[in-house]
Amino acid sequence: MSATAARFPATDVRLSVEQVSYAYAANPSQAPLFTLEATSFQARPGEIVAILGPNASGKSTLLKLISGALAPLSGRVLLNGFPTHSLDPRGRARRIAVVQQESRLLFPARVWEFVLQGRHPYSRGLAFESEEDVLIAKNALAQVGAVALNDRWLDQISGGEKQRVILARALAQQPLLLLLDEPTLHLDIGAQVDLLEALQRLARQNRYTVVVVTHELNLAGGYSDQVVLLHRGKSLRVGPPASVYQRELLEQVFQTALTVEMGGSGRPRVSILSDS
């Protein structure tokens, strides 16, 4: 057995979410306004997990628990065996990159400046970015196919281009785990497919574990290896898209009539049936 195979055996679990729950309350003495009931799943390097559900199903809460931004009420989230919540901010940022729905800048910045920010968790004291940092940032831009944007202003590029640049900054963090919160929210359909194909390629090549929060049934079904289906704070089903995508289940969760067909590649396709 080679050294590489020993370090990354096929069954190697990178992210382990174990019976994690959470409760939001306006103040501690009151009944919680929202709860996330015990949720579990595991993900290996190179795998894409989609957290799927309608609005207010607990998707973003689960993502925050995974990123360590929130402490779980019970259960734990382990990244390579360490609880993510107990990592210090810099250590967490070296292992986990989070791509948020919106990235709004107060003052204009160039694309390359923005991508270099991904090197911040590796900075030492007051030292400026090293040549290595610059190289890593350039590579990150190349990996998302955005080298041409290098010197453009961030507020003068399209939504799809901006989403790529934000992804590049996350790659510059050289994370083990890549978390994306509704990354396709403001993208047109072509840019959505581009982004997910890029994600799939990156997950395979760089051995990232990717967790994507989305309510887009077909994007989750078409690109993920596992789906965690959430509904009103409960995890209803966890598994490969083909096993989770059952018509009655999805109709109940998304409150609409729909059909599910299995494609040739074992990928489910969902069509929404309108009444009219």
């Binding site: 901010p89 940022a93 709004r104 920010q117 610059v134 940032a137 010197d151």
Partner: protein, 346 residues
């Protein structure tokens, strides 16, 4: 791609350093009593060589005992206010933040006046009592910014418009308190104090206090500079900054205290000079970009240049009468504030 290097940083500071030097020379020359540039250069060399006794005493009095201390004070005040302004802009994520607009300067002024009134009654040595004014100003600044910060929040997040309103309302409330305090003072003090409130560089603090203020200035500015890279990320959002490894609690605390200290120092020696902390960082951003690792030192130099120019104008435009330097900066800054506000609304 042009990542920041130490060389680039120094080059930018050097450019502004030279400008500051030139502005200082011109400011030494201009005034009610004319001084030739040639004579000024000759005298400066004499002073540098330790032969200041060879100077004509009248000259020495005007240039080195009146104008130079005033210019140095302007440099110190301008640098403090600009760094404080740039820091508040990142801390509150609001490009319109400025110690004056947010009411922090008024808070500092109120604290300073309290200290001035209280100090003689406490029976401490004059050297210690002199420290009360900057301390009172710092406490006033820190309290005000904390109040504005909490009043400016809506549903847990800072709301830009609410924050500005909270600042402006706090400023007017604090000004009312200052007016109230001033009516209790003997009338001979009131005119001087009213002039000081508008911003006044004509009375530099005693030499012992100058050293103290200088040291504190460098400590506070240095402390803010250690968070420069974090402030860059904070501008993209608090959540994003956390995800990129910023220790938000520590950065906030450091910048909050240090920026309040800088505002307190500046106000305690010069009153409320407005809009410098707004104008200068924006001008520097246009010149050198928004990276706080460049912005903080260059904005300090830029603020020094701006206040020395403003004060020279205040001294000379209607000479021999003097304008208040705060009036000059407000005349430039208030229209600029409106311009920024309009641009953000569209």
């Amino acid at each position: 791609m042009q990542p920041l290097t130490l060389g680039r940083l120094f080059a930018r500071c050097a450019v502004l350093g030279v400008v500051l030097l030139l502005v200082t020379l011109v400011a030494l020359k201009l005034g009610a009593v004319p001084v030739s540039l040639y004579g000024l250069g000759r005298d400066l060399i004499r002073v540098a060589m330790g032969k200041s006794s060879e100077l004509a005493s009248e000259y020495r009095l005007i240039v080195f005992d009146i104008r130079l201390p005033r210019i140095l004070l302007g440099i110190f005040v301008g640098a403090s206010l600009s760094v404080a302004g740039a820091s508040f802009q990142a801390l509150l994520r609001n490009p319109l933040a400025d110690p004056y607009v947010l009411g922090v300067s008024s808070g500092a002024a109120l604290g300073a006046i309290f200290a001035l009134i209280a100090a003689p009654h406490l029976g401490v040595a004059p050297a210690v009592a002199a420290l009360f004014t900057p301390l009172g100003a710092f406490l006033g600044a820190a309290t005000t910014i904390a109040a504005v910060y909490f009043l400016g929040r809506r549903q847990g997040a800072i709301d830009s418009g609410t924050l500005l309103l909270a600042g402006i309302i706090s400023a007017s409330f604090l000004s009312a308190l200052i007016m109230l305090l001033m009516t209790t003072l003997p009338s001979s003090n009131v005119r001087g104090m009213a002039f000081w409130l508008m911003g006044d560089l004509s009375t530099p603090p005693p030499r012992s206090l100058q050293w103290f203020l200088g040291v504190v200035f460098f400590i506070a500015t240095g402390a803010i500079y250690t968070t420069a890279a974090d402030l860059n990320l904070l501008l993209a959002g608090e959540q994003e900054a956390i995800h990129l490894g910023v220790d938000l609690g520590r950065v906030r605390l450091v910048v909050y205290i240090a920026a309040s200290v800088l505002t307190g120092l500046a106000v305690s020696v010069s009153g409320a000079i407005g809009y410098v902390g707004l104008l200068v960082p924006h001008a520097i951003r246009l010149l050198f970009g928004g990276d706080y690792r460049v912005l903080l030192p260059t904005t300090a130099l830029g603020g020094a240049i701006a206040v020395v120019i403003a004060d020279t104008l205040a001294r000379t435009v209607v000479a021999p009468t003097e304008l208040s330097v705060g009036a000059v900066t407000a005349m430039a800054g208030a229209p600029f504030f409106i311009y920024l506000l309009r641009r953000r609304l569209t």
